[in-house]
């Protein structure tokens, strides 16, 4: 009887143990190597292969670290990451986008001491990205790519419509004239897109209107931004050159472009590899149509940081150094995946992107690009854009009316 009771007690305790140790397995030490997970967004098979190669390189070059890639879609990544960071269950290595640094910084480890200790020369990186991945005077990630938002276009459609390839610096008038020739009979030149980076870049290029100030403060009531948003919305309602959007679907514009339904789409150089792999036409890139203030755009980029709860930050930093080292970023640039955040390796991307004129476009755009500022409420603004901009795009409300509704829901 006693033995049976003892056995039952041991079993019950065992069960308790099993239920209690579901998390906290990272990092573990197996075979002399510290295992750690690297959380990254993955846009498709080409993307997955590119990132897996980075993981493989770290595993072969860094003697005491083994990293495993954990992919999520870009749309879900930040929701998942902010939850993991806040509950101290984030992997050691996490991807950070420059415009979301402020929103994630409380869960990330400041890297400044590790940078000093390991003699990493930050001057080798694009200055705007070091600024973009910093908040409150601390650095929260080492950047891997940078790039201005540009216009992707379908060269074949332009040719079929009898249009010459657009040149860097083209104006909104030239864009509109071309768009009209590419539209009609149920076809549209471009599709609306409510994603924050897209819409804010488009408005900035049109009239310099900004919803997020350089210091990260959000001013959703900015009249200049509303004016720019109205111009973008009128492309659907008045000019009939932009496809109306169905719902809060930020991938609609990209899908329509890749499917060959529309002729243009606003995106960054980080999507070029994916676009080339998926599109069954020749892809070109050009600067965003310039309005009254001349060519302008936002630049953004991403990097990798270390979560605050990582128990082996020194090993994680070793992995980071390799991931953002000249060799790795040179390879990513050569593969066309990332316009390197290391300025010396950017030439590889221009040489291998295999898009004629890409270098001229990126250089022209980069000259005037300003870093997209980071705000603690960027996720909230992005969600409200998805929810509300469709009303402006589809002509159910004015741009000013929509921005007023958005402003009322943001923290004052």
């Amino acid at each position: 009887m006693r033995k049976e009771a003892l056995l039952a007690g041991v079993l019950a305790l065992g069960l308790l143990g099993v239920t209690g140790c579901g998390s906290g397995s990272e990092p573990s030490n197996a075979g002399g190597k510290t295992d750690m997970t690297w959380a990254m967004w993955v846009g498709g098979t080409a993307d997955q292969d590119a990132w897996q190669k980075v993981a493989d390189t770290v595993n072969s070059k860094v003697p005491d670290v083994h990293i495993t890639l954990q992919g999520s879609t870009f749309a879900d990544y930040f929701t998942k990451m902010s939850t993991q960071l806040s509950s101290n269950s984030a992997p050691c290595l996490v991807a950070v986008q420059s415009l979301r640094t402020t929103a994630l910084k409380d869960g990330l480890l400041p890297l400044d001491d590790l940078v000093k200790k390991n003699n990493v020369n930050l001057a080798d990186f694009d200055k705007s990205m070091i600024t973009g991945l910093s908040a409150d005077g601390n650095l929260y990630g080492l950047p891997y790519d940078v790039g201005p938002m540009v216009m992707f276009y379908n060269k074949d459609k332009f040719k079929a419509a009898g249009l010459a390839d657009p040149k860097p610096g083209w104006t909104t008038e030239e864009f509109l004239a071309d768009a009209k020739k590419l539209s009609g009979a149920g076809k549209y030149a471009i599709a609306q897109n409510s994603a924050d980076l897209n819409i804010e870049s488009q408005v900035l290029a049109y009239n310099g209107g900004r919803v997020v100030g350089a210091d990260g403060t959000i001013n959703a009531s900015d009249p200049q931004f509303a004016k720019g948003l109205q111009w973008v919305s009128d492309l659907t309602n008045v000019e009939k050159v932009a496809a109306p959007i169905a719902g809060g679907d930020s991938s609609f514009g990209n899908n329509e472009f890749l499917a060959g339904s529309t002729a243009m789409n606003i995106d960054g150089p980080w999507s070029l590899l994916d676009a080339k792999a998926k599109a069954k036409f020749n892809v070109g890139i050009v600067t965003l149509p310039a309005g009254s203030g001349g060519t302008a755009t936002f630049s953004a980029g991403s990097g990798w940081g270390i979560s605050k709860n990582c128990k082996t930050p020194d090993q994680a930093f070793k992995a980071l150094e390799t991931m953002t080292g000249p060799g790795m970023l040179g390879e990513l640039a050569t593969a066309g995946r990332a316009l390197s955040a290391r300025t010396a390796e950017q030439a590889n991307w221009f040489d291998h992107a295999a898009i004629p004129g890409a270098d001229a476009t990126i250089k022209a755009a980069s000259t005037t690009a300003v870093p997209m500022p980071s705000s603690p409420n960027s996720d909230q603004l992005g969600q409200l854009f998805n929810q509300y901009l469709v009303k402006s795009f589809n002509g159910q409300d004015s741009a000013a009316g929509v921005m007023k509704d958005i402003a009322s829901q943001l923290p004052q």
Binding site: A5, A12, L15, S86, I245, G247, Q387, K391, D405
Partner: protein
């Protein structure tokens, strides 16, 4: 029952049930057996908590603790990252005064009011049609049930392709009538209705199966007797079958009502709650507050408001069932 019966066995003067009237050793055997059983019961009682422990731990960790935690969180300003601050009922006061939350509750009620009757009518109608006389009824049942077991995300993505401008419906209307279909998900007047239609398609199969089984269980003798008395098919259905399956209808109504208050995936994927707030539902509001705006306190408070709404409506249904649910049939 076994405990009540055991004293009878202990009575030494109990009349012997054996027809020969002789005292038999079997009685003492029974007594020993009873004593043994009683010892077994004691041991079982001792073991009971151990066997209940895994389930008890699961219940405590995954049900009771989160419920208590969410109530505690709802009383705080609890950002996802950063310092928590005690607010008392502050979050609840904010929610009740927030016009957006008011709109969200109204949207959820609109969804429920449209969805629940449509779901019940379609599922009951198809279940009534699928009588054993219909050839291939099992195949129809499977076909109608497929949407209910397909992942909702896949269904929603397909329906988004049907609804979007240039999608299947728009394309068909252009080629046949020469006009554009409304922008179902992009127009605030159509968006909620479009989500309801998709949800009915997705959800009716489950209730149909319940109703179909309940209708099959109605005794044929009752319907035949009514038919012999000259009752028409509609009267047979309305006066006999419907009351007979009323417990199933009650169950289906209650479950459908509860799940419809919790609608999330459809607006989350199809509209993100837009245009504006026209398809924002309570659970979507909770998700956005928690995971987009990182306000876990506000999200938890909204979850408790939803809980109270569902609890209230379920209680009203239970009270009202006496009038129309017949368990004695």
């Amino acid at each position: 029952m076994a405990i009540q019966a055991s004293p009878g066995l202990k009575r030494s003067d109990a009349p012997d049930p054996e027809p020969d009237g002789q005292k038999r050793p079997a009685v003492s055997v029974r007594r020993r057996a009873a004593r043994k059983d009683s010892g077994g019961l004691g041991r079982q009682t001792a073991w009971g908590p151990f066997f209940a422990l895994p389930h008890g731990v699961g219940l405590a960790l995954f049900t009771l603790l989160p419920i208590g935690a969410s109530l505690w969180i709802s009383l705080h300003n609890w950002p996802m990252m950063g310092q928590q601050k005690w607010l008392g009922l502050g979050n609840y006061q904010h929610l009740l005064a927030d016009p957006i939350f008011g709109q969200v509750v109204l949207n959820t009620l609109l969804f429920v009011v449209l969805y629940v009757p449509m779901n019940l009518v379609v599922s009951l109608g198809l279940a009534a049609w699928l009588t054993p006389k219909i050839k291939g009824r099992h195949i129809f049942r499977i076909i109608f049930f497929i949407p209910a077991i397909t992942p909702v995300v896949a269904n929603v993505v397909v329906w988004r392709m049907l609804y979007q401008p240039g999608g299947l419906i728009d394309g068909l209307m252009q080629s046949t009538l020469g006009i554009h279909a409304p922008n179902f998900l992009g127009d605030e007047h159509w968006a909620m209705f479009s989500i309801v239609v998709m949800s009915v398609w997705q959800g009716f199969g489950y209730n149909m199966l319940i109703f179909s089984s309940a209708l099959d269980a109605v005794p044929e003798s009752l319907t035949e007797a009514a038919e012999l008395d000259g009752a028409r098919p509609w009267t047979v259905f309305y006066r006999i079958k419907l009351p007979m399956i009323s417990p199933s209808i009650f169950f289906a109504t209650m479950m459908t009502l509860i799940t419809s208050f919790q609608v999330f995936a459809q607006p989350f994927i199809m509209t993100k709650g837009g245009p504006g707030t026209s398809t924002s539902t309570i659970v979507l509001f909770i998700y956005n507050q928690g995971f987009q705006f990182h306000q876990l306190g506000m999200a938890s408070a909204a979850a408790w408001v939803l809980f109270v709404i569902i609890l209230g409506i379920t209680a009203v249904q239970f009270l009202g069932q006496k009038k129309w649910v017949h368990y004695d049939a």
